[in-house]
Amino acid sequence: MKNLVILGAGTAGTMMANHLVKKLPRKEWKLTIVDQYKTHYYQPGFLFLPFDIYSTKQVKKNGKKFIPKGVDYIQKKIERIVPETNKVLLEQGDELAYDILIIATGTKIAPDEIEGMNGPMWYKNIFDFYTYEGAKALRDKLREWKGGKLVVHITEMPIKCPVAPLEFAFLADSYFKNKGMRDQVDITFVTPLGGAFTKPKATKALHYLLEEKGIKEVTDFNIERVDYENNKIIDYADTEVEYDLLVTVPTNMGDAVIERSGMGDDLNFVPTNKGSLQTTDYENIFAIGDATNLPASKAGSVAHFEAEILTDNILRYIQGQPLKEEFDGHANCFIETGNGKALLIDFNYTHEPVEGTFPFPGVGPLQLLKESRTNHMGKMAFRWVYWNLLIKGVHIPFVSATMNEKGKHFEEVTQ
C-alpha cells in the first residue's frame, strides 16, 4: 500500500482529495488529508461580510462534509515536513509516511510584519477582512461608524485575491451611499503599486470607476509603520496618510509549517514549477494554490484550474511518465464594482485581462472587462457553485483549465 498525503483542507486541498479519490486505485493507494481546523470558510464571502451582504452562516461550513469517503481526514496540527525521510510530523508525536505529498497549506495574513499594525488598535480602528474574525469585527465597526477618513490599504504584494481591496473600496462607496452618509466618508485607496490598476489595458478600461465613485488614490506607498497613536500610516519615503478607519491587507505569507520545515522562500511560499506544479526541490512533493510561489494570482479559480492539471501530473508521476508543463497561470475573477454590478476578468501568465465574452466566444453571456448586472449575478451565484461543484472537484462546464483565446480581443492588448 502506498500513501498520498495532502496537507491542508482548504479550497485547493479539498479539490485535490475529490479529484484523486476518483482516479487512484484504492487497493494500491491510501489517501490522507490533514488540517487542524474543523471549519471550511468560503473566503470570497469575507468581502461581503463587513457590509452585511452575507451573513456569517453563509461563509462557513463543517469541512468534513466536503472530504469524500475513502479519504482519511486527520484533524491535527502539522509540526513539520521532513522531505529527507518522506515523513510528516504531527502534534503529539504522530508521524505520517508518504510516497507522494501535496502541499496545499495556503497563505495567511501576517500583521506582525509591520510595526504598529497588530498593536493596541488592531480590531479597534485597524482591521483586515482576509480572515473570518477580521471581516466580522469590521462588520460590527461599520454598523456603528459615524464616518471620517476610510483608508483601504495594501501592505505588500503578493496578496491573495489581488483585486479584493479595490472591490472593498467600491462596495464601501455603495454601502455609505445606501446609508445616506457618503458625504461624511472620505475613501482613499493606498497601494505599493503604481496604481489601483497597473496594466495598461485595465487602467484604460476601468480607471473611470475610481473617479466616478470619488475614491482617491495614493500610489507607490511602501509602508514602514503604522503610527496608531496619531492614526496615520507612514512609508519609507516619509509620506503620511491619515485615517480614522484603516482597512488593511497585511503581508500575506505561506503557513508557518513551511518555514519550520525550511521549505519556503522569503514569504514562506514553496518554490514550485509554474507549469507542472512539482516543487523545485523534491520530485515527490507537489504544491498547489496559495501555498506556491507561482507568479499567478492567489485565487480559488487559479487553484481550480491547477487542480485539473495537477491531478493529471500525479497520475503521470505514478506511471513514471514525464510531467506536463501545462499550467498557464489561468485566472478568472469576478470583480464587484458596487451598486449591484460587477466585472469579469480572464487572464493568464502572458495575457493581461482582455475584453470579450465568457465562456462562449462571441456570445457570453458574461462580458469581460465591462461592468454589468449579469456579472454581479454571476458572482452571487458563484457561492453555490463553490460549495456544490468547485471544491467537490466537479468540472465547471465550458470553462477550461488553460485559457481559451477565442472571443477575446487580444489585438487591442498593448505591451
Binding site: 505588500e156 504584494m157 489581488p162 503599486l193 497597473t198 507607490d220 519609507y236 476578468i345 485581462p353 498593448t414
Partner: protein
C-alpha cells in the same frame, strides 16, 4: 514602440520599459537613469546587479526582497532611486515593472 537610447534602437512599451531584456546594455541603463534625473554610482550598480540576479531566477522583486538582500536597506534604496524606487530601478535595469494582476 522603438526608441533611440545610447545610439541603439531598442523596443520599449508606452511607459518606457524595455520589452526585450537582450537589448539592454550598461549604456542603455545609464541613459534611462539620466532621463530620470539619476546619476549612477557604484552603489546603484550593485542594486542593478541584484535586480538582474532576481530576474534571471524569475523571482519577483519586492521591497521585502530588497530589505533581505543584504545589498542595501530600504532608506538608502529610496535615496538612490527617489520617488518609486522599484519602478525606477527596474526601468534602468531594463526589466519589466513589478505588477499585480490587473
Amino acid at each position: 514602440m522603438r526608441k533611440l537610447i545610447a545610439h541603439t534602437e531598442v523596443e520599449v512599451n508606452e511607459e518606457g520599459y524595455l520589452t526585450d531584456f537582450s537589448q539592454w546594455t550598461k549604456e542603455v541603463g545609464e541613459c534611462i537613469a539620466d532621463e530620470n534625473g539619476i546619476c549612477l554610482t557604484d552603489r546603484h550598480w550593485e542594486v542593478i546587479e541584484y535586480i538582474h540576479e532576481k530576474y534571471s531566477c524569475e523571482e519577483p522583486l519586492s521591497i521585502r526582497g530588497i530589505k533581505k538582500s543584504g545589498v542595501i536597506d530600504i532608506k538608502e534604496f529610496y535615496k538612490l532611486f527617489p520617488g518609486g524606487p522599484l519602478k525606477k530601478a527596474t526601468m534602468i535595469a531594463g526589466i519589466p515593472k513589478p505588477k499585480s494582476c490587473i
